[in-house]
């Protein structure tokens, strides 16, 4: 996991924590053995975390292959 943002600036502690949450959620959302309640709600959580990490310039990637 990166320790700088899109502009190469070091991440603040809260930014690192948010990015970790995003990466963990992405990994969970990629699994194909989840029940609907988990898969669909994780998708919504991932969409929110994508938004936060986008706001903070921590990543700029697409999530459509995860169905999000």
């Amino acid at each position: 996991m990166t320790d700088v943002d899109l502009l190469g600036r070091p991440l603040a502690s809260v930014e690192q924590q948010v990015l970790e949450l995003y990466e963990k959620t992405k990994a969970l959302a990629a699994r194909d053995d989840l029940p609907p309640c988990l898969a669909r709600n994780l998708g919504r959580v991932l969409a929110c975390l994508w938004q936060v990490t986008n706001d903070l310039d921590l990543q700029f990637e697409q999530t459509y292959d995860l169905g999000v």
Binding site: L7, A47, W50, Q51, D55, L56, F60, V68
Partner: protein
Amino acid sequence: MITACSDIPYWNPKNETMPRAALRALQLAKLGRLCEWAAARSPFHRRRFAAARFTPAQLRTLDDIRRIPIMTREEWMESQAEAPPYGDLLAASPTNAIRYHITSGSSGRTPIRVLDSTRDWEWGAEMWGYALWATGIRPTDVVYFAFGYGSFIGFWGAHYGCEKIGALVIPGGAQSTANRVRQIVETGATTVLTTPTYALRLAQEAAELGVDLARQSRVDKLIVSGEPGGSIASVKRRLEAAWGARCLDVAGMTEIGTVVMYECAERPGGMHVIEDNVLEETLHPETGEPVGYEERAERVVTSFGRGFIPLIRYRTRDMVVKVPHTRCTCGRNTDIYAGGILGRWDDMKLVRGTNVYQRSVEQIVREYDAIDEFQIRLWRKDDLRDEITVRVEVKAEREPEWEGLRESLAAALGAAHEGLRFDVEAVPRGSLPRFELKAKRLVDERGATAPRGSDREEP
């Protein structure tokens, strides 16, 4: 605590206050990734990039964006027609979508169909978060939506943006104007979101019901969008007097999926662009060359949001004048469109050699408090001479003023249009169309042929 942030003036302080150079670097980083995505996944963009011999690796500075061909609505429509219903612009399977919306179709053309994934929809609401937080909406607000909640995207994103802010949302869809007036008062709404035209209509209805919105409602913010009226000084004054509230303008596009500019609470005389999420170029409408600050130009927009339908260098036809962020005292780093969206380059009408825009006529008509509604009619006399008539509905109690009003209005319109002669006529109250969205007050009955003796063609 979630509500503790209410005192922070910016939705996203990091990006809204970073130095301009960093903001430009962020735009370049996002542009490169967006183009890589579009080249890999959208047949529409892959084809156009190849025709222009463009590869994302060529993007070394923001100026390199000019290597990418301009994208037009016509190309998008052709793509939809050839491969219905969505064309080959999509960069992901439609099975990822959770929302379908269309453009308003107010121009009479086939609507554009758009899709949003869960993430795209989240992003659309986020842009409204930027905009509505800047207007002053906070979690303690009660926000009423005077909006029909149909297939047109309209205020859908604003609804979710307000939920995201934590405000109490009251969806006022599918009911009469009178009921909406009553609900606004009864629910203690502090903010109303609607079009400027419908905000005026609500005020008229309230007056007929004997409701004084300025005294009997709690509304202190009127957020308008969908038409230029919110940035027209005379319309804004009239709305603020009728509602006893501050009127603020915001603007977006269905093609982008959300709002992209807003008037902040400092009201700098224009709208800030959400530049960490969209890249707005201002170009000469004919040559395509970049146009500097303070000059009239056409907006060409690249969106860093909805990746489902990559929107890269999309020609809007919107007429704007960009001014630097320093024009505003709010501290945001984002540039401003002075006066909002000034009109559309393709909406200009030529009448006996003079340019006429609906917005400029409205600006003058709305100075006359005695006029409730109006319509501009362009017609041809004896198949020879173009004429322009402004039809007005005069308030019942103001009818005795009609003769003086007619002369004054005709003179003011002529003075603002190089001496062009305007006919002004009164029509029965209630005879002109009312609008909830995208008011169309200009009717051109002249047909396609140019008048005899004309040495200029209709644009």
